[in-house]
């Protein structure tokens, strides 16, 4: 069975800065994959390339067996790539339910159907009680949840989560972790960017570590955290020696 998502030799340059160099990763169906790495490793860039915010300088991106390298973000969403934003981008003047309806409208133009779908997703993400509140009135953790809900309403095959667990209290993070598992159990593949290792490692099936724009290590979370190269990238040489 082919991978759901695959990047082949992807490069991204911003002027003289090389944000991604020759990145080839793949995400299998039904997996939860963590994309990790220290600050400035190129995680967000790769994430944006996959979501279609900008086309890569070089290389190709395959989704569900087809090249999506040059497709705009909206088209990728139609194909089944849903995403959240690191800095939340709620539709602030709209209610929570209306935010989610926007997502649901990708799959149907019948308002009744979109509304039903939106309610279902709010139920799933635990936001049902807040359906008729303005998005601007939500607390930060709820806004993150709304990002996920909105993306889920588009019925994605692949859900891209950009640091949804970062900056949450431990309790909120636990609820978040539970939600990600629930999403996967619903049959949706998850690729998540995080830099807080302790939260992601127990959650993901596989971790891909980026450093300085390149894939450093890839593998089972337990192996990855013990890899000297990873420790070095995160903590510096001194710690790698002890490992």
């Amino acid at each position: 069975m082919s991978a759901l998502l695959e990047t082949r030799g992807v490069w991204q340059r911003f002027g003289g800065l090389v944000a991604n160099s020759d990145v080839s990763i793949s995400v299998g169906r039904g997996e939860i994959v963590g994309l990790i790495g220290p600050n400035g490793a190129g995680k967000s860039t790769l994430f944006n390339l996959i979501a279609g915010v900008l086309p890569p300088t070089q290389g190709s991106i395959l989704f569900d067996g087809e090249a999506v390298t040059k497709l705009p973000a909206a088209e990728r969403c139609r194909r089944g790539i849903g995403r959240t934003f690191q800095v939340v981008k709620s539709f602030e003047t709209m209610t929570v339910i209306d935010n989610v309806i926007v997502g649901a409208l990708v799959r149907t133009t019948v308002m009744r159907e979109a509304r039903r779908k939106a309610h279902e997703v709010l139920e799933f993400t635990g936001l049902a009680a807040r359906a008729h509140v303005l998005a601007s009135d939500l607390v930060p953790a709820e806004k993150r949840r709304l990002e996920v809900a909105r993306a889920l309403a588009t019925e994605p095959k692949l859900l891209l989560l950009d640091e949804v667990l970062t900056g949450l209290t431990p309790t909120e993070a636990q609820t978040g972790v539970a939600l990600v598992r629930k999403v996967r159990d619903a049959g949706i593949t998850v690729l998540m960017v995080e830099h807080v290792m302790e939260i992601v490692m127990p959650l993901v099936d596989r971790a891909i570590v980026l450093d300085l724009g390149k894939v450093l290590v890839e593998g089972k979370p337990a192996d990855v955290v013990r890899d000297p190269k990873v420790i070095k990238a995160y903590l510096g040489d001194r710690h790698a020696v002890g490992a």
Partner: protein, 327 residues
């Protein structure tokens, strides 16, 4: 919860029907021509502002150049009528279509601009339109076009002895613009527009076709405003560039919506109901030889309302949303 929503939609429709019915009956009691004139203008601007609100309020693309579409509606109708004898009713449709096409043609480059730059572009384009008509001999240039009067006729949509037909047309236009808004509000387009306004990048990620959303909003908005322009031309029976394409029209379309509540269903109607009579009355009371006192009074009132209620008068009526338990 969904029931609440359906109930609210139906309630809006019932209120609108009731208001329209009351408005339709006013001529029975109001015989004064000056007051009738104010009512006609109020209804017309309510309709225009409602149309402006589709592009600028719902979709968030603030236009201060809608005078262009107003003028195009007026000119298309009158050029077709005076040069080719085409009845104003067809001219009205033609004006709407021409304006919608031009709006999309202009949208193609300008919807790539954001925020202030877009606003500036709309102002500039409308001024260019104004200058073109000023210098276009065939269209009467600065002299304008006088609409030949052939007596009262529904066919030619001109009336000398009574203002009532104009009144009913203005009412119909206002109702049409309101209804179109009401209908689109709960459609894919309505949701797309609001999403584009609030956050285009997020909208894009949810599969919203941002560019075409703006184009659609521009076309609907321009079409309705052009119909208003045709109506106005017939109503005043003389047009020249300044009197149908001047910058003041752009403002008078934007202000009621902004004052009443931008991007809301009722904002433009509410805003127009207060603003237009105010405009006319201050002109009546303070206008004349000194010229300008009316504008000072008028401007001061607008500033005061904007300061007190930045989200528009409608925010007075919206109950505070319950914020729930999470905190």
């Amino acid at each position: 919860m969904d029931k609440d929503f359906a109930v609210r939609r139906r309630r809006d429709l019932i209120i609108a029907a009731a208001l329209a019915a009351i408005a339709a009956l006013t001529p029975l009691f109001v015989k004064d021509v000056v007051v009738q004139n104010i009512l006609i203008l109020t209804l017309m601007y309510a309709g225009l502002s409602q149309s402006w609100n589709i592009l600028s309020g719902y979709c968030g693309q603030i236009s201060l150049g809608h005078a262009l579409y107003f003028g195009l509606g007026a000119y298309t109708t009158e050029l077709l009528f005076t040069k080719f004898g085409v009845l104003p009713w067809f001219g009205m449709l033609a004006g709407g279509v021409v304006s919608a096409l031009i709006a999309m043609g202009l949208g193609y480059p300008f919807f790539r601009l954001r925020g202030h730059y877009f606003v500036i572009a709309t102002i500039v384009i409308a001024e260019i339109g104004l200058l073109l008509f000023h210098n276009w001999e065939w269209a009467g240039a600065a002299m304008g076009i006088t609409i030949p009067i052939r007596g009262d006729s529904w066919l030619k949509f001109q009336f000398l002895r009574t203002k009532l037909p104009y009144f009913y047309f203005a009412l119909a236009l206002c109702c049409l613009a309101w209804f179109v808004t009401w209908w689109l509000e709960n459609s894919k387009w309505g949701f797309w527009w609001r999403a584009v306004k609030d956050n285009p990048e997020a909208a894009e990620s949810l599969g919203v076709d941002v560019f075409n959303s703006k184009m659609g909003a521009a076309a609907v908005s321009a079409f309705l405003v052009a119909v208003g322009g045709s109506f106005y031309a017939q109503f005043v029976s003389y047009i020249d560039p300044e009197s149908v394409m001047g910058f003041q029209f752009s403002l008078l379309m934007a202000l009621p919506a902004v004052l009443g509540g931008i991007g809301t269903l009722w904002g433009p109607v509410l805003g127009a109901a207060i603003l237009i009579p105010l405009t006319e009355l201050t002109r009546f009371k303070f206008g004349g030889s000194g010229r300008g006192v009316d504008l000072i009074v008028y401007g001061t009132l607008i500033v005061l309302i904007s300061l007190a209620l930045p989200r528009g008068l409608l925010s007075l009526f919206s109950r505070p949303k319950k914020t729930g338990a999470a905190r």
